[in-house]
Symmetry: none
Subunit: 191 residues, 4 copies
DNA sequence: GATGAATGAGCGTTCATTCAT
DNA sequence: CATGAATGAACGCTCATTCAT
């Protein structure tokens, strides 16, 4: 097993167990076993559990990003771009429930708060299509004149909530329902 | 110190610490110390930590509920009722940030999921103004024809997200901003 | 409730709970509740749990003693006296399983060892019919010339074991079986 | 220190402390300290305290069994076989007082009762020489026609009691005294 | 005297992290 | 490099005992 294989196995195992049982229900020893790796080996790749979780989130983000961008045309109307991104995001969540559950846990934790702060303050590299989209919508006066943060919340709040309810089987989403949910989010932010 | 004082101290300490550090970051010993109480004393009032958390949530709900209902007139138009409830909710969250953070933690945990299931299935006593409001809106065709769950998510997703961002100081809400946020939520759910 | 009633209630409750659950399965609070008495009240009658247990044993012994003596005629032959005492003892155990279970627990604990030491060394008052019986048997050369302790063990070892097996339902004793068991014990000690 | 050394140290420490102070007087932390081992280390070898105790008993049994069997000839007369086994048992107890005290504690506990039930019902594999011996004695009408359980009690009751009294220094056994005690037990069970 | 709420040391157990092999 | 046995601080919880009322 090559070095990268080991790291990948650890990441996969950690994602599975954390998604299923939460941060506190996924001991390092259990992650190591699931990854078929020695417990100490994890610490060759990650300084400690916190670092592992943070990097895990970053990897999920990176995996997610190209999927959102695929077929995304910056020259389309704002509405179409918003629909494209939101629909892609919902599909991604539904098809990758482990990723979704992990992201949820992550946001609802001190890590998530720090991450959000970095994002909003623009400290992180500007790879954020959504931010560009909303800023574009604001400057063209297509979207409501609200702080960027609130526009985010109006769009992502429902998207995350609906995805969670689907994954928890409170509803069963299909393409029609997804489209109409995104439409409703658009109604919330558009002027 | 009277008996009720002691219980109150425990409840206050638990709320503070759980709001600040989460369930796992608030050991019973720390709660006891913050409440100026022996570790064993907590167990005179709550069977175990899980029960304490559940009961704490119930108490917050009971504290919150009359505030939402105050000034609520069921004979007003749907839009006004929606505004009243959402505005009251946001004010409650902003003025009781500990309650808000606790509720957030609670919903993002197995307790919360079970609670949500009960609510949606109507197992719990029908004291839910919001559910009535949305069902009313659906039957009068004022709101979009979407599953109840999704209507909930379209309204509460943003409300919770915005309240959190205020409490975490990502934005500073005022009455105008609150009104415009609630307005945007209304746009999301209304036909 | 008079003072003695309270003490009696405590003693009764302690006996029941210790017999059923052992020393460590019978917390003072539980004993107090069963006795319908405040937890602190127990400490008015007994210095601490150890003292309570020791006194409880003494009371059982005192209750038991007259039963053994009833109908006991010191002028009968040794064999008859042995039969009388052993049969009475077994009946007592069978009819008072709580007492038996308590005695068992007691003997199998540091208390029991100390008690046995006192008994054998004759430190305790000489109210012991059995001791007299065996010493009589030895001096008349009816019994095997073995140390007193071993004669005790040859008689009581089986008696206790058989009583326990009856109480635990491994066997069902009747008068015939009791008689034949005592007979066998007599065979063990007689010359 | 090799892996097995560590386990052995734990077993030794647990045996010593439980023999001396009983199950409840031997906390895991104390066992760990006596074994010069971290508290958590014990749990690498035993799932929990109950399992540790059960396994400890099993190990003692396995250590004891071959000693009883050594020099045991199934074709000898019943009386000789009984003497052989009982004498070997007493020597084993006297030379391994820790084992003896542990076994005593074990039998006088819920574990012991369950174990005895299994033994009597023959649920456990039939490696029980004593059971065979008594059944043989019954069918050949050498022993008294009593339930198997009572025969056990008549033999082991005194053996255990005498061994305990020796270990507690109430008597000092020698070969002669052992022989005469076993003889007395034989008198109890033989016709 | 009687109470029972309060205490806190002590229990069995877990798990992130280390380090000898 | 990789391992996994070892660690021990920290956890949730219990209960004998005390003491203000």
């Amino acid at each position: 097993m090559a070095k990268l294989d080991k790291r990948d196995e650890i990441v996969r195992a950690a994602l599975e167990l954390i998604a299923e049982h939460g941060f506190h229900g996924a001991p390092m020893a259990m992650i190591a076993e699931r990854a078929s790796v020695g417990a100490g080996t994890i610490y060759r790749y990650f300084e400690n559990k916190d670092v592992m979780i943070t990097e895990l989130f970053r990897e999920i983000e990176e995996r997610n990003y190209p999927i959102l961008k695929a077929g995304y045309a910056p020259d389309q109307p704002l509405r179409e771009r918003f629909f494209h991104l939101c629909t892609a995001l919902m599909h991604y969540f539904i098809e990758n429930p482990l990723d979704f559950r992990f992201i949820e846990q992550f946001f609802n934790s001190p890590y998530g708060v720090a991450h959000r702060r970095d994002k909003l303050l623009g400290t992180k590299e500007g790879c954020d299509v959504f931010k560009e989209l909303f800023e574009d919508g604001l400057s063209r006066q297509v979207m409501k004149d609200l702080p960027l943060v609130i526009l985010f919340d109006l769009a992502f709040g429902p998207i995350l909530a609906v995805a969670r309810d689907h994954i928890l089987s409170f509803i069963v989403l299909d393409d029609v329902l997804i489209a109409r949910t995104v439409e409703a989010c658009w109604d919330a932010i558009k002027r």
